[in-house]
């Protein structure tokens, strides 16, 4: 009995990750839950835990530090104590998922080629797009029969993503593409192939090269290869830009009471003072319950609204590795102090690059804060598949006209709400922002009302 160790999907859009090294050695006894290896996923470096017990067996041609691996790619095995790796694939029903049999065997295994099958079998294989080298013959003298080809075609169509992932675990590129990439100074690992089984062809290099035209023509300066996270960020932001119809509303809010609330916590001798974004998150959650459509998740042919007690809010955090969005859970139900503790924890973890996948999932709304950089208004980009994002500006003392027409100095902040006009119209979005402004201007009452 053996278990495959595969690349997990760490986020909803994760297709591949960058292998960041084993935490255990070949031969180590592994207990379920032990951290096996590190993987740079969608947004963070993450430890991947063992799902099963067994002795770790690593493959000779297994992933190296920095290898880009498709989700589902097999990187090693957990075997029963004493079992050898060589026996593993044949013991396993899912051997066809491994990198090795799919990748290496067909090219060199003469025996499997000679058992190729009759012309009609070959024709069938051709029609069904089945590589005969991947078919195990069950006919006499291991000949491949029509049924074998059909069975393989069925199995492969079910497993297609896995098989493709396994194939792409190593870079497969034509010699011409390799040469073109070398000439253009492009890393093949940063490329998606459009050839058979994802093989990188010259055209893929050319399109990549054209996309990166400035760097191709601008000779000077340092080249920085895109990290996995940078690529994920780029793809997600580009997706958002392509898919959503973003509209940004801005509104000034009087932050006098907000600032004062924090002062009150200090005066009360609290060691943990909630940050502005913590208080606003709590207030946002309350407003979202009133206008759940702004917390909807776009899902192709439907908008999925959250349960009103499951409002999770993402906080955009700037880290040395790039933007990351840890999630504050159940904002409606948690007390402000526990929210503050949790946000401080996840932000710290984010900056250390140690956030788990689960800690980045499930948000229905995101808050991003550029106020600390002195920015007043901006146009935040919606974090798909969410519907809206709130940008917080700087709190500045401004002269404002009070209700009795006196000029007063007040701490003011601008809110920038970007919403997806596909999902919701301008009026309800404006109404939401209006209610949020009101909440921020009277935070204590709102917070106490929600307790």
């Amino acid at each position: 009995m053996s278990f495959e160790i595969t690349i997990p999907r760490l986020g909803w859009s994760m297709e591949e990750g960058i292998f960041a090294g084993w935490l255990k050695k070949d031969g180590d006894v592994i207990r379920r839950g032990d951290a096996l290896f590190e993987l740079e996923g969608e947004k963070a470096l993450q430890e991947v835990e063992a799902l099963d017990d067994g002795v770790l067996r690593l493959m000779a041609d297994g992933p190296q530090l920095g290898t880009v691996l498709k989700v589902g790619a097999v990187v090693g095995y957990l075997v029963a104590d004493g079992a050898a790796l060589a026996q593993t694939p044949s013991d396993s029903n899912v051997a066809s998922n491994t990198i090795k049999p799919v990748e290496k065997a067909p090219a060199t295994d003469i025996n499997s080629m000679s058992s190729g099958g009759s012309p009609s079998v070959r024709r069938l294989a051709r029609e069904l797009g089945v590589d005969l080298n991947r078919v195990t013959g069950t006919g006499s003298r291991d000949r491949i029969t029509d049924d074998d080809v059909r069975a393989t075609a069925r199995r492969e169509s079910e497993q297609r993503p896995t098989i493709n992932s396994a194939l792409a675990a190593e870079i497969i590129a034509t010699p011409r593409a390799r040469r073109a990439a070398k000439t253009a100074g492009i890393e093949l690992s940063s490329m998606q192939g459009t050839g058979r089984n994802g093989r990188i062809r010259e055209r893929d290099v050319v399109s990549q090269s054209n996309a990166a035209a400035p760097s191709a023509t601008w000779a000077g300066g340092q080249r920085i290869s895109l990290s996995g996270r940078r690529r994920v960020i780029a793809e997600r932001l580009a997706d958002s830009h392509r898919q959503t119809v973003p509209v940004t509303l801005t509104s000034q809010v009087d932050a006098t009471n907000l600032v004062s609330l924090r002062q009150q916590f200090k005066a009360a001798g609290e060691t943990l003072i909630p940050a502005i974004h913590d208080i606003i998150a709590k207030l946002v959650a309350g407003c979202l319950r009133q206008e759940l459509r702004l917390a909807g998740r776009w899902d192709g042919d439907a908008i999925v609204l959250p349960y009103d007690n499951e409002i999770h809010i993402g906080l955009a955090v700037d880290t040395p590795e790039g933007l990351i969005v840890p999630v504050l859970r159940n904002v409606v139900n948690e007390t402000l102090l526990s929210l503050a503790a949790e946000s401080s924890r996840i932000i710290r973890k984010s900056r250390a690059g140690r956030l788990s996948g689960a800690e980045m999932q499930g948000a229905v709304f995101t808050i991003t804060n550029l106020g600390s950089f002195g920015i007043d208004t901006f146009t935040p980009v919606i974090n798909l598949p969410e519907t809206a994002i709130l940008g917080l500006g700087a709190i500045r003392k401004l002269a404002v006209v009070a209700s009795d027409d006196r000029i007063e100095v007040r701490p003011m902040m601008t809110l920038s709400l970007t919403f997806d006009h596909r999902a919701i119209d301008g009026a309800p979005a404006a109404k939401f922002l209006q209610s949020l402004v009101a909440a921020i201007e009277n935070p204590a009452a709102r917070l106490l009302m929600s307790e």
């Binding site: 034509t174 010699p175 011409r176 050839g195 062809r201 010259e202 055209r203």
Partner: protein, 660 residues
């Protein structure tokens, strides 16, 4: 017989004897690298026959040929140096004991294969007849050769065409170790001559005077145009078949000793007038010195340069060439001058035959009938039966003859009708015709044009549809041409008719009537220059013969699918123009080879290997092939269609390749 004649015969026999004995000693000492078949005991035959020959007369010999070469006038120095593998040897070190060439003195070569020399001597006779030189050609062969088909075919051809040829059978009673009495249904070789309508003589092969007399008559008859003679000389070799071989598993010491007593040299000396005794002793002393000098010469001679190992595979000279330079076919004028593939070859052949009287055509039905495929219409009336020679159905025979004819100065064109029939003569082509230039270090040229129809179609079934071009492509020394259209056919045919190398000219039967513009003027297409049939950017397709029009017909359709095909036609597969293919693949990154024949070891395999090697970094996809099935050609239309690539197969392969 005059005293001078006696001394001359004695002298020649003694040269042979002492040279052979010295060679036997050298062999024992390990100075000879390969085989050494001595002629000891049989000296009278070569000596007696060759005493009537001039340098212009030709001798075609066997593996036991030292004596023939020496009798024909080869100095012992050249013979010994050849066996020592030296650059000064008669074949410049390329031949050894079984491949002795000295065309300058009419020694047209010995052969390691039993039989071909008889056919080549027919060719020597045919050249003499065609060129009216009055020369004779002589084949020496053993009793082992007379039970081989070549004997039958040679004697029959020599008889029906009254060739000035002597067939000298040296019946030493053992074909290696198989006794003639066992191997032949009739105890007489000479008696078989009657079966071919030829004069036959059985004589004592150890009696040089008698041999000289009978051979003299035969040579005179041949020169007088009275045709060929078969002479069986009963003799015995008193040394082993080959030096170093055991001798007494198949014959007894007593038998050998008895024959040694019948030594032809001792016999002549004994019969000679007493006054010649002193002169004979002086000759012997002189010859011993000559042989000692020969050995010293051989030992001191340099080995050939290793760098020259592939020199002379092809002719170093050529009958002049005016090749077209562009790989693209010139644009046709309006109106075009459209003629068929076959008409184009006829135009080339007819023109060249009227320019070059050394050209003659042989084949079945190519005379008055004008060729089964109308390859020679009207030429018989212009040039007569010797230049348009209908043959018996004996492919090995007339191809062997063609080899001998080319060796002796004429330019045979063999019209096989169906190229399948070539296989009956394959030994003559591969072992003899293709190798002669090389083995003779370029001193012989072999302008043999071998043409025939190939290709599958119209239920011709398996004996009328074979191509085997890749088989020929593997033979050093052959040129292999496979045109795909009338324009190329004419230019390549003219090149072939002027080329000094043997050319296999294979004509696909399914495109013989296809017409295109063919200029009336004389033009040659160089061998080893592919034609770019259509320019494209996405995929390079290399196709041959009929597969060229098959592929070309798809190109417009594929263009509409945004697949731009560059179609190359190598036109000749030997030499093969890999440069043009490489250049094209550098452009497209994709290569498909389309061939009607099975894939195994085929043109596709060869091209793929070469391009993968030299053009690896240009490849943007695996190299692919489309081939016919690995099966003989079946008859039924359904089966036949299933073994050849169709347009759809090619289109599918191109689409698949673009997706790779």
């Amino acid at each position: 017989m005059t005293n001078d004649q006696i001394l001359s015969l004695y002298r020649t026999m003694l040269i042979i004897r002492h040279t052979e004995e010295e060679l036997a000693r050298c062999h024992q000492r390990g100075l000879i690298h390969g085989a050494c078949h001595t002629y000891v005991g049989q000296e009278a035959i070569a000596t007696g026959v060759c005493s009537h020959l001039t340098k212009a007369d030709t001798v075609f010999s066997t593996h036991r040929g030292h004596g023939h070469a020496l009798a024909k006038g080869m100095p012992p120095r050249e013979l010994m140096a050849e066996l020592f593998g030296r650059a000064t040897g008669c074949s410049r070190g390329r031949g050894g004991s079984m491949h002795l060439f000295s065309p300058e003195i009419g020694m047209m070569g010995t052969s390691g294969i039993v039989g071909p020399c008889m056919l080549q001597a027919c060719g020597g006779g045919y050249s003499a007849k065609l060129l009216k030189t009055g020369n004779v050609a002589v084949a020496f062969f053993g009793d082992g050769a007379v039970n081989n088909g070549a004997f039958h075919e040679a004697l029959n051809m020599a008889s029906i065409w009254k060739l000035p040829t002597l067939f000298i059978c040296e019946n030493n009673q053992y074909a290696t170790e198989i006794p003639f009495s066992y191997a032949s249904g009739s105890p007489s070789v000479a008696g078989r001559a009657a079966g071919y309508g030829l004069p036959g003589f059985e004589i004592d092969g150890n009696d040089v005077v008698e041999i000289s007399r009978i051979a003299g008559d035969a040579v005179a008859r041949a020169r007088a145009g009275e045709g060929a003679t078969l002479i069986e000389c009963k003799t015995y070799r008193t040394r082993a078949h080959s030096e170093g071989m055991g001798d007494f598993t198949y014959r007894t010491r007593e038998e050998v000793d008895a024959w040694k007593k019948r030594c032809p040299i001792a016999r002549l000396k004994a019969a000679a007038p007493a006054e010649l005794s002193a002169a004979m002793d002086a000759i012997e002393a002189e010859i011993l010195e000559m042989v000692r000098d020969a050995r010293e010469f051989a030992e001191q001679s340099p080995y050939p340069e290793a760098a020259s190992a592939t020199k002379y595979v092809y002719s170093q000279t050529d009958a002049g060439s005016t090749p077209e330079s562009s790989p693209m076919r010139p644009a046709a004028p309006s109106p075009p001058r459209e003629i068929s593939f076959t008409q184009a070859t006829v135009e080339a052949l007819a023109g060249e035959m009227s320019r070059n009287p050394k050209i003659f055509v042989m084949g079945e039905g190519i005379g008055i009938r004008g060729g089964n495929f109308r390859t020679t219409p009207g030429l018989y009336n212009l040039h007569g039966p010797e230049r348009l020679c209908d043959t018996p159905i004996c492919e090995r025979g007339f191809v062997g003859l063609a080899g001998g004819a080319a060796m002796t100065g004429t330019r045979p064109v063999i019209d096989f009708m169906f190229a399948d029939f070539i296989l009956d003569s394959i030994g003559e082509i591969i072992n003899q015709i293709a190798k002669m230039q090389y083995m003779s270090s370029g001193r012989l040229t072999m302008p043999v044009l071998l043409r025939g129809c190939v290709g599958i179609g119209h239920s011709a079934a398996t004996h009328h549809s074979g191509s085997y071009h890749t088989l020929y492509g593997q033979v050093p020394g052959l040129r292999v041409v496979m045109p795909s259209n009338a324009y190329d056919a004419k230019g390549l045919m003219l090149r072939a008719l002027r080329c000094n190398d043997p050319v296999m000219f294979l004509e696909h039967r399914e495109i013989l009537t296809a017409k295109c513009h063919v200029p009336e003027h004389d033009y040659e297409i160089e061998f080893g220059k592919a034609s770019i049939v259509r320019e494209g950017t996405d995929v390079t397709v290399v196709a041959l013969a009929k597969m060229v029009p098959v592929t070309l017909a798809l190109c417009d359709m594929l263009q509409q699918e945004n697949i731009s095909v560059e179609l190359l036609d190598p036109r000749t597969i030997s030499p093969l123009d890999t440069v043009t293919i490489l250049r094209s693949v550098a452009k497209t990154g994709r290569l498909l080879i389309v061939e009607e024949t099975p894939p195994a070891f085929g043109l596709g395999a060869e091209i793929a290997a070469q391009i993968a090697d030299s053009g690896f970094n240009d490849l943007d996809a695996p190299i692919k092939r489309v081939n016919g099935a690995f099966a003989p050609t079946p008859y039924a239309p359904t089966l036949e269609a299933a073994v050849v690539p169709t347009e759809m197969d090619v289109a599918l392969a191109i689409r698949e390749l673009v997706r790779e």
